[in-house]
């Protein structure tokens, strides 16, 4: 075997120019593959992180079909008990509670529709990037002022159209969970996001203020969980659902729905998946072209070395040995070219991952502003194209190898 490897290694360098050309085509394939992997994985990872950390979290818990058909009364009772169960789960990084209600926001200058979101201020801050979205004012607290008014964090769009600023009154009118008309005044404590952003129509209230405003005492609409890694979402959702069924078999918890971010943001997820499939097709085309080239090279080299293989057979080499020789040669060449290409790819991927392309105009992907294309550096990005290329080089070398193995010494000797 070692003799075969030695032979194969030596053979690569016998026809340097041809080997170099093959190596270039394989290396180029690897380069393109890796960069494309890096960009897709990287930009989608960024997007998913952005998405999950600004908005959805990794896993959400709702009552019944709240996610599809939100209704004020579809609220989770005893949410703190579920929170305690979440405390016992290892993968959980953080979790928070929210309530939602559509409302009409008023100021002296007019009115416009708003989405009221009651948030557990401390938990929300630990779970999502909400505190980073405050563009003016300070992240509010749970305390009402001396007149009994709670503070609110108001989306930039609402602040702009109602012409209200920090410290101004914001009047909210909505429907309470008991059918009453919810109406109250809040003080603008912070402006969230910038005009045209995803938080434009949102009004964030302290959870206790929102619960009393909406007559939702001790109830919330949503529990948002973030995990150490978003890829654990599905496994966690399943595990937690089992755990709830075991530890809290009471009826009260039987109608909870645990959804991963893929379900919560199903439109985004689907468009991401189809985009990834599109990329895979493009990559397959690149690889196909690369391997047509490789096949051509290997076939040429087998043809050129007909006499050589004839001699080998004449002096007693078995067909299997010759087949192995050809495949080892090609696989080795592929591996060497990929390693060489790696030296070129590494710094570029590093640059992509850390600097990337800034977009002149931020791209709105499902409500999240996406401002830079960044790559990803991981074993996956480098490893998968490596294995793909080496494996296909091996596969593609088999037919020429068989051809070489079938050569008859007598015919080979007669050829030039």
């Amino acid at each position: 075997m070692s003799l075969l490897v030695k032979l194969a290694f030596r053979n690569i360098f016998r026809q340097r120019r041809r080997s170099l050309l093959t190596a270039l085509s394989i290396g180029g394939g690897y380069f393109l593959c890796t960069l494309s992997f890096s960009l897709t994985e990287g930009s989608y990872n960024n997007l998913i992180n952005l998405f999950t950390l600004t908005k959805t979290g990794h896993v959400q818990i709702h009552k019944n079909d709240y996610l599809d058909r939100p209704k004020l009364y579809k609220a989770i009772d005893d949410y703190a008990v579920i929170g305690q169960q979440l405390d016992h789960m290892d993968q959980v990084k953080s979790y928070t509670y929210r309530t939602f209600a559509p409302a009409l926001a008023y100021s002296d200058d007019g009115n416009r529709p708003a989405q009221v979101i009651g948030i557990d201020l401390t938990r929300e801050r630990a779970t999502t990037l909400i505190a980073d979205k405050v563009t003016s004012g300070h992240y509010i607290d749970n305390n009402a002022d001396s007149d009994g008014y709670f503070q609110a964090m108001v989306g930039a769009g609402i602040a702009e159209s109602l012409k209200i600023g920090l410290g101004d009154d914001l009047i909210l009118i909505s429907q309470g969970a008991d059918g009453s008309i919810a109406n109250d005044i809040f003080k603008v404590g912070a402006i969230i996001g910038s005009s045209g952003g995803g938080d434009d129509a949102n009004v964030y209230l302290p959870l206790i203020a929102a619960q009393s405003f909406l007559t939702l005492e001790e109830r919330v609409h949503e529990i948002v969980v973030t995990l150490d890694d978003y890829s654990e979402s599905e496994a966690f959702a399943e595990a937690f659902s089992k755990k709830l069924a075991e530890t809290l078999p009471g009826l009260a918890f039987s109608n909870l729905t645990i959804s991963t971010w893929q379900v919560v943001e199903v439109d985004f997820y689907n468009s991401m998946e189809s985009d990834k499939r599109g990329n895979a097709v493009a990559l397959a085309v690149i690889l196909f072209i690369v391997f047509i080239g490789v096949l051509n090279t290997v076939l040429m080299s087998v043809l050129e070395r007909t006499r050589e293989f004839g001699v080998m057979k004449a002096i007693g080499s078995r067909p299997a040995t010759i087949l192995s020789l050809v495949t080892i040669e090609t696989t080795m060449l592929a591996a060497l070219s990929v390693v060489a290409a790696l030296f070129l790819t590494l710094p570029l991927t590093y640059w992509l991952a850390h600097v990337g392309f800034e977009l002149s105009e931020p791209l709105d992907v499902g409500g999240i502003m996406f401002s830079a294309y960044r790559g990803e550096m991981s074993w996956f990005v480098f490893g998968v194209p490596f294995l793909l290329l080496v494996f296909f080089a091996f596969v593609i070398s088999i037919p020429p190898g068989i051809r070489a193995a079938r050569i008859l010494p007598t015919q080979a000797m007669r050829s030039f």
Binding site: Y73, Y106, Q175, G179, I181, N183, I185, T215
Partner: protein
């Protein structure tokens, strides 16, 4: 021959004359009936109002998800002006509704804001109940905006109201059932334009209010919303009270702290 023709002519004209007289009688009857229907509906509509009135009411809203009880007081003059103020629960205390002719305003003391109910919201729920804003505002124009037909049974008048061509309404038909003996409403059934029963307003529990005996319990049941129901109970109803002055029905009074 001529004689025969003359006699025949006489008979024919006699017949014609009789038919005409009969037809006249029929029309008269029908007109009478229509007048009766209008009179009945007007009488029913005025029952709870008098020339002026003041009422204390309890409203109970029941849904599959919650039940809510509110106490309120109302004042009305004729069918043009009415004023309702919520007394309890504490959370909603002071919320008030003013109706002047076809216009309507709500006042919310917590935010010190008067909000005019826009025409598009007229079919919206009033205070989260199964009564619409329109029920409060326009209910009274029934005899002007609907064509009425009267049917009678031994115990009931059944007035069927079909909207006139130019009437703007969501109802295709309203059946108004009136107790003949007591001359009080029993039930109103509201149908859509396909003839499907949408909601029922039932009157029950006769109670003496001053000189009149009236149903003190009104139950509105929307049939398109399972498990929903609104009950209004008249706790007290005073006709021609002293404290219902024109100043009650003003935006200034609506906004007054209470």
């Amino acid at each position: 021959m001529q004689q025969i023709t003359f006699v025949r002519g006489l008979i024919v004209s006699g017949l014609l004359l009789t038919t005409c007289v009969m037809a006249d009688n029929d029309i008269d009857k029908r007109l009478d009936k229509q007048r009766d229907a209008i009179q009945i509906i007007n009488q029913m509509e005025a029952l709870y109002r008098g020339d002026s009135s003041r009422a204390d009411m309890t409203m109970i809203v029941k849904t599959p998800h919650y039940q809510r009880e509110m106490k309120m007081t109302s004042s009305a003059v004729g069918d043009e002006q009415s004023f309702i103020r919520v007394l309890a629960p504490k959370k909603d205390r002071g919320i008030a509704t003013l109706k002047l002719d076809d216009e309507m305003w709500n006042y919310f003391p917590k935010i010190n804001k008067v909000i005019k109910v826009p025409p598009s919201m007229m079919m919206g729920a009033w205070m989260g109940s199964d009564f619409t804003n329109d029920d409060l505002v326009k209910q009274t124009a029934l005899t002007d905006e609907y064509n009425l037909t009267l049917n009678e049974t031994e115990t009931e008048y059944i007035v069927t109201l079909v909207p006139k061509e130019l009437t703007v309404t969501v109802w295709g038909k309203i059946d108004y059932l009136v107790d003949r003996a007591a001359m009080v409403p029993i039930e109103q059934n509201f149908y859509d334009d396909r003839g499907k029963l949408i909601r029922t307003l039932a009157f029950s529990e006769l109670k003496q209010f001053g000189d009149v005996r009236l149903p003190s319990r009104l139950e509105m049941i929307p049939l398109n919303k399972d498990g929903h129901k609104t009950i209004i109970i008249y706790d007290e109803l005073i006709f021609d009270p002293d404290d219902v002055a024109p100043s009650v029905f003003t935006l200034r009074n609506l906004k007054s702290r209470f």
